[in-house]
Symmetry: C2
Subunit: 394 residues, 2 copies
């Protein structure tokens, strides 16, 4: 089906074609599409300045018809041998490029849509009461995070310093991850105009992996009554490749049954957008968790409809993430606070050492795959980061 | 002191010189400085493209030395008669221009730094317990708001619709204001590098007025445990003029005594940045409150130091606001939920009608003045908005 020599098990075959931003040897940042172990230079292939702007935003702003056209065009280039002579030189080994933050993030919203995650945290923090707050099954709870500290995979994770409690100050002792999936908004919406669940694919371009690094000690001291702030705002890492929704048709599944009837604006029964993404979390190379995204209680179209039901506008580059993805089993939990049950039950690693929260030097890598068209398996790539010691106080 | 004919009581004399973005008859957006009842076209006066970019961001990114140089230059143009012939034609009556959002907002953070406001809300929502949460006097509580829905004064306030409680959906019945002061970041900072309190004026360019419109019913249902979201994200209005910190030297006052010792990174005793801004809130023209900004418990340098102590980076265009400004007296409260004590004690207006929360058609205008150099009084202009009925549901 392609003149390219792609291994059958590549996660980056023609059914994927995710978008990113790359540069070579410190040169200009350009749009690229991952193909096998190479990157197709879209700026060169199209000759369009739009793809040499340093982020995907200008392309994403063009909307779904343009997204579909370019996907079709790229597929044609890579399958019709008539294009091989022109296109092959524009395929650059991924080892030779630097990958950058793919989008200029407008607003960043983080949801809290995994029931198992919310229940785990409720059991730890509010023992004896209902693990879910009364609103949890009525609306997808979310909040705004710091857009300016969303960075590409590989950005060092400097251990944050801050208030750990009353008159207690120092480096976080409970540095954690949150394994999440992010949705990237392409087409904007007008202030005052809600986006219905059915318009999801008219606005959202694609999906990336997110690690919403969290300092649990900073967070637990600060978060009442206005929510997380410094416990999250030091860094949020995203994978360099944005997988278009068009590549995820085969991954669509029905979301779990909801115990409480949803209001009409959240009714997603006509067009289910649960996504069967299989996440894997590795600590220093060792697989420690397999969070199942398909079990999320609230889906992305519901999150989008909720986020705009009050008339809030969307902008190109808005990023909204699922919140920590956790499944019902212990080895499906997407954060160390859950995996170690608040530190009370340390994880035992393959080398016999134990871990509650992250230590300096730890490397955390989140990967994911999903069913692709024609029985293929597509990759969402990875989001990784290495913990560095806290900086000396000024 | 100036060749201009300015009334003695103008709030926009040579000791103010605030920056905004304007256009004439649908033309390009350019940087302007308010002078009396006119706007000096800075793009034309300087001949610098930087001031024709449609927002102040490019200028703000240049940092404090450039800010000081241009302020000095504008002052010279307006005082030295040698410049009159060239400059006078570049002064456009403010009535002939459209004022736009002055900055492209990067991240928007809202604090909660008025003790009287926090105590009022605590008394209403948690009667019988300490009105302040245990963390309140240890750190300036804040959270991220929606940057994409920050709009310029005059933007219509469409009554938001949303969840008012379990299975309850409709237009907000408790639409409110929050009278606030915003601080605009000019010079960015690096990820991983805290900004100490003493570097405040190296990063922050100036001050504007903020009305953080709030739907209290949406907010109270959604905000546990991750904070306000849709109750705030439909609109935040800002005044069109950003008053440089350089204009506010005479307004600096000592903040109130703190009952709890602050940690060293929040120690602002060397360079007090309390600001004696006198706010006025008008409903349909009637003065209903005079919030005193100078009594804020946490000052802007403390907010900035706290916001970055975990290593979070600043970007040009970051906006951080004080939170609702309320004084100890009833007629100094900066929100209707406080003025009407949660709706239990309606305000009686001059025409004999009463008001708890906002009704369709209501116009709310917040203004402020401050002591300026040489005994002058400078104006921060106004932020205003008119409430429009909720849109029909889809």
């Amino acid at each position: 089906m392609t003149w390219l020599d792609l291994p059958g098990d590549t996660g980056f075959g023609l059914t994927n074609l995710p978008y990113g931003v790359f540069s070579v040897s410190g040169g200009d940042r350009r749009t690229g599409v991952a193909v096998g172990t190479r990157v197709l230079d879209i700026a060169a292939a199209t000759g369009d300045e739009l793809h040499a702007t340093g982020s995907l935003n200008a392309f994403l702003a063009q909307g779904p018809a343009a997204w579909a056209r370019l996907r079709q065009q790229v597929t044609e280039w890579l399958t019709d041998p008539a294009h091989q002579a022109r296109i092959e030189p524009l395929l650059i080994p991924v080892a030779d490029v630097t990958l950058h933050l793919p989008i200029e993030v407008a607003d960043y919203v983080d949801f809290y849509s995994s029931r198992h995650h919310a229940e785990n945290l409720g059991r730890m923090f509010r023992p004896g009461s209902d693990p879910l707050t009364p609103n949890w099954k009525h609306l997808p709870i979310g909040y705004h995070g710091r857009a300016g500290t969303v960075r590409v995979s590989g950005t060092p994770v400097i251990r944050p310093t801050g208030q750990l409690g009353a008159a207690r100050f120092g480096p976080s002792q409970r540095l954690d991850i949150e394994a999440e999936v992010g949705f990237v908004v392409g087409a904007p919406s007008q202030l005052g105009t809600p986006v219905p669940v059915g318009d999801f694919a008219e606005h959202v371009f694609g999906v990336c992996l997110v690690n919403d690094w969290s300092a649990r000690d900073l967070q637990s001291w600060e978060y009442v009554p206005l929510g997380p702030f410094l416990g999250k705002s030091f860094l949020t890492s995203v994978s360099p490749w944005v997988v278009p929704l068009a590549a995820l048709e085969a991954a669509r599944v029905s979301p779990p049954d909801r115990d409480v009837p949803t209001l009409p604006y959240l009714d997603d029964s006509k067009e289910p957008w649960g996504l069967d993404l299989s996440l894997e979390v590795r600590l220093n190379g060792e697989l420690i968790s397999r969070p199942p995204f398909g079990e999320l209680y609230w889906t992305a179209p519901q999150q989008l409809a909720h986020m705009t039901v009050n008339g809030a506008a969307l902008r190109t580059g808005d990023l909204f993430a699922s919140g920590t993805v956790s499944g019902p089993a212990k080895d499906q939990r997407g954060s160390f606070i859950e995996l170690s049950w608040g530190g009370a039950e340390p994880l035992t690693l393959a080398d016999g050492t134990t871990r509650t929260f992250l230590e300096d030097g730890d490397v955390v890598t989140i990967t994911a795959t999903a069913p692709g068209a024609g029985g293929t398996r597509i990759s969402l790539g990875e989001v990784t980061g290495t913990v560095q010691p806290a900086l000396d106080p000024q």
